[in-house]
Subunit: 491 residues, 2 copies
């Protein structure tokens, strides 16, 4: 199916999938009690009325429920995926058609996302979420772009910052030989923009009231921008809400990693030796899931504290080099680069499975593999490739080294995403309504909102909370309504 363009500006794979997407939205809504509670609580007061949100986040079924929650709270929204493979086409279609539109007359949200974008298409899609000219002319307003960003990984935020930077410099630099293909594409995208307008991104940056960022990598970029003084607007670090990083990263991966392995390979996990690179939240969830399947898990870490945690959890900790040829399945979850190198790939067992649930595809040196003399790629099925190596052995690479829990399975399940996205919506409300209270810096959500997110997910799990008596609350020095812990409490 060809991506289609209609009068509602959008670009998806196939609008005809909207009904299938809508069915899935209904099921997901039942598993996303936090978002549904926010619709109920804030629907009447419309706190996001006037918000123009540019969203860059995996265009999945769960994100569809997020988008429609933002709309239910009064926001206007444009959306792109933050990953070339992660779009569920039926979800994108359902978002475009909307709850009240039809395939013939889509009345949803402008969404630019389909599964399997090229990098050129990806950055074109990302640019589209900043073009609010259609909305402006319909409303007879003079906006240039959105006034809020909802980001995952920081691509939307980076585009604005780099766009503005190059406009101030008056030119976009040429790509150098060592630049990644992706960076070249970004430069091309911004060069074309600079030719069309000398101040598009400068004006967009000035209109933005804030960004709420979903994940570790994006947060890291934000802290760097803040440190160098380049950050242009306040940011809320959603990732570091406890109900995000300690839930999504850990329990999400625990669910979707084995799911991805199964859908991709149907290989029995039990009994296998699995190597997990990194024992942060993602690595902890991965290790737990794999142990639960009866795998023998080995971990590598650079941080002695996390390494000690792994050891105390009964997991062997060693370097990847020292066990390369014993491992059946490799899983990376570091957010770092080249934690699996071409040399590592060459030393692996025949048909070892190599997969990434960290961040970018450079976590495994796929670029190096592609350049490797004598290596041959065979597509077993989409997102599952056998690489025949000059060593005479093969490795199975999932999702071309990109996030396999999204590429080979359907990403995190709705319940986990409900917690993450409830933080996102509360963060959008905070920045949009109380933005003046937040300086141009990176903030975390106040603890009472973090606790609220948790609270909204308890009933669905049959959890009965105990209430502190007034005496007990006084004894431990908190209010019976919370917050219950000091800010530096680690959970």
């Amino acid at each position: 199916a060809q991506p289609s363009v209609a009068t509602l500006p959008f670009k998806v794979a196939d609008l005809g999938l909207a009904e299938a997407g809508r069915h899935q939205f209904r099921l997901a809504e039942n598993e996303m009690p936090g978002l549904m509670a926010l619709r109920e609580e804030f629907g009447p007061s419309q706190p996001l009325k006037g918000a123009r949100i540019a969203g860059s986040l995996h265009m999945t079924v769960q994100t569809g429920v997020l988008i429609e929650t933002l709309v239910a709270l009064g926001a206007q929204v444009r959306w792109a995926s933050c990953n070339i493979f992660s779009t569920q086409n039926e979800a994108a279609a359902a978002v475009a058609v909307g709850p009240n539109g039809t395939v013939e007359n889509p009345a949803g949200v402008p969404v630019f996302a389909w599964k399997g974008e090229t990098l050129e298409e990806y950055w074109w899609c990302t640019s589209q979420i900043f073009d609010w000219s259609a909305e402006a002319s319909r409303a007879n307003e003079h906006w240039d772009g959105p006034n809020m960003i909802l980001d995952d990984g920081g691509d939307a935020t980076i585009l604005v910052h780099k766009g503005r930077e190059f406009e101030m410099a008056g030119a976009v630099p040429d790509a150098t030989a060592t630049d990644s293909h992706e960076w070249t594409v970004i430069l091309d995208t911004l060069r074309a923009s600079l030719q069309a307008s000398p101040d598009r991104w400068t004006k967009i940056a000035a209109e933005i009231q804030g960004v709420t960022e979903e994940t570790t990598t994006g947060v890291h970029r934000l802290y760097e921008l803040a440190k160098s003084g380049e950050l242009q607007f306040p940011a809320i670090n959603v990732n570091d809400s406890v109900t995000k990083s300690k839930f999504d990263n850990k329990y999400g991966i625990r669910h979707s990693l084995p799911d991805g392995l199964n859908r991709a390979t149907d290989v029995l996990i039990g009994g296998k030796v699995v190597f997990v690179v990194g024992y942060g939240d993602v690595g902890k969830g991965a290790a737990e899931a794999l142990k639960g399947q009866g795998a023998r898990v080995i971990v590598s870490e650079v941080d002695p504290i996390n390494a000690l945690q792994a050891a105390m959890d009964g997991v062997q900790v060693t370097t990847i080099e020292s066990v390369l040829d014993q491992v059946d399945i490799f899983v990376t979850g570091t957010g770092n680069e080249n934690v699996i190198t071409v040399d590592h790939l060459l030393g692996m067992k025949h048909l070892a499975i190599v997969s990434n649930v960290g961040h970018f595809d450079n976590e495994i040196d796929i670029a190096g593999l592609e350049k490797l003399e004598g290596a041959e790629r065979i597509e077993i099925k989409p997102q599952v490739h056998e690489w025949r190596l000059p060593s005479g052995r093969s490795v199975l690479v999932l999702s071309e080294g990109r996030l396999m829990n999204l590429g080979n399975a359907t990403g995190h399940p709705s319940f986990v995403m409900s917690a993450s996205f409830t933080n996102q919506v509360l963060a959008q409300i905070e920045l949009f309504v109380r933005g003046a209270d937040y300086g141009v810096d990176v903030h975390v959500l106040p603890k009472h909102l973090d606790e609220k997110v948790a609270r909204l997910h308890l009933d669905a799990l049959g959890v009965k909370l105990t209430r502190l008596t007034d005496e007990q609350a006084a004894y431990i020095g908190v209010s019976p309504d919370g917050p219950y812990k000091v800010d530096h409490y680690r959970y």
Copy 2:
């Protein structure tokens, strides 16, 4: 055996136990790689030369290894226990005799501690760690007291602050009818001191360069002193090092809770229904240990975040009232009061086991039980009591409601305490050597020292750490030598 006093000023139950204590020190040293590594690293440079440390911390075998580490680093030390019951008499004896002394000619450290002190004796012992006149006259110096405190629970710190406060007021207030017995004893102790000297504590306070505090309760007191502006010297909060609270509280309890249950009752844990009150670090360790034994664990929580964590870990979360009569073993770990009330006790199964690994004995309403008309206490063996209740049923109360992992077993194992105490020693060095860098406030150890503590415990577990390449380190924005995480990282 009577407490004895020799030329080396000290008071312990029986010096003759020193050899038994020394054997245990040797075994413990093998399980305390962090402390032993510090002896090796800092023995030659003697960073604590000139430090006069007043220590108030459970006088156990592990503390003996801590004390001798401080001495090996150049410090002079005086010691008292921070709990009337927690002294291991053989450990106190071995500390007094010292590695090079004999029972006839003790040449260790002045220690004032024995198991089962009265409150009067306890505060006398605590006063002794501030009397450095013997050391001063031997060195021909004019000290009044120590220049460092190593505290657990804050009693030593409180004595100095209150002593100074009353000296400035010129009088110690009379105890009132509602004051606890313990407070009355403290007032008497300080009244006697004020009669003997009008400025003893003022001079002592002025000489102290800093305190390092071990535990939650003491840290809480320090933050209150800092907030009210009363704090007299810099403090390091050792409790909130990751390698303390996320190790000691969690992995320590995971070890010593089932140990305590077994030694106390020999009841099979597998298959039983166990109710854990509180799912903080202690509760998590307790639940993991009990699940590992095949128990079905139920948890209660007041904090929705911790409650959601328990649910995501596959544990039922409900109120204690709703399952009272189904539970075989109760474990409290909240640090709160009356989380098990007399009403709860009356509603329990016959011979339900009731135990506390949280904080004081008020976590279970033992005072209420003692007052209960018609209740009868039968000692099964020390620290294990059957309470026959008017309901016709009995409950088994462990350690009279006090910490059962210490009362029924031997508390935290050496390896866990090695991590905690390595933080203590590093904190002592920080404050003694770099005290000027620390303002009069409560600080946590810098992350690189927390990481160092972890690092020193890896070899013993056979952990092989991975080293970041320079490129990887730059990519994630850290140094290859650490620190590896932002300060708010939760582990």
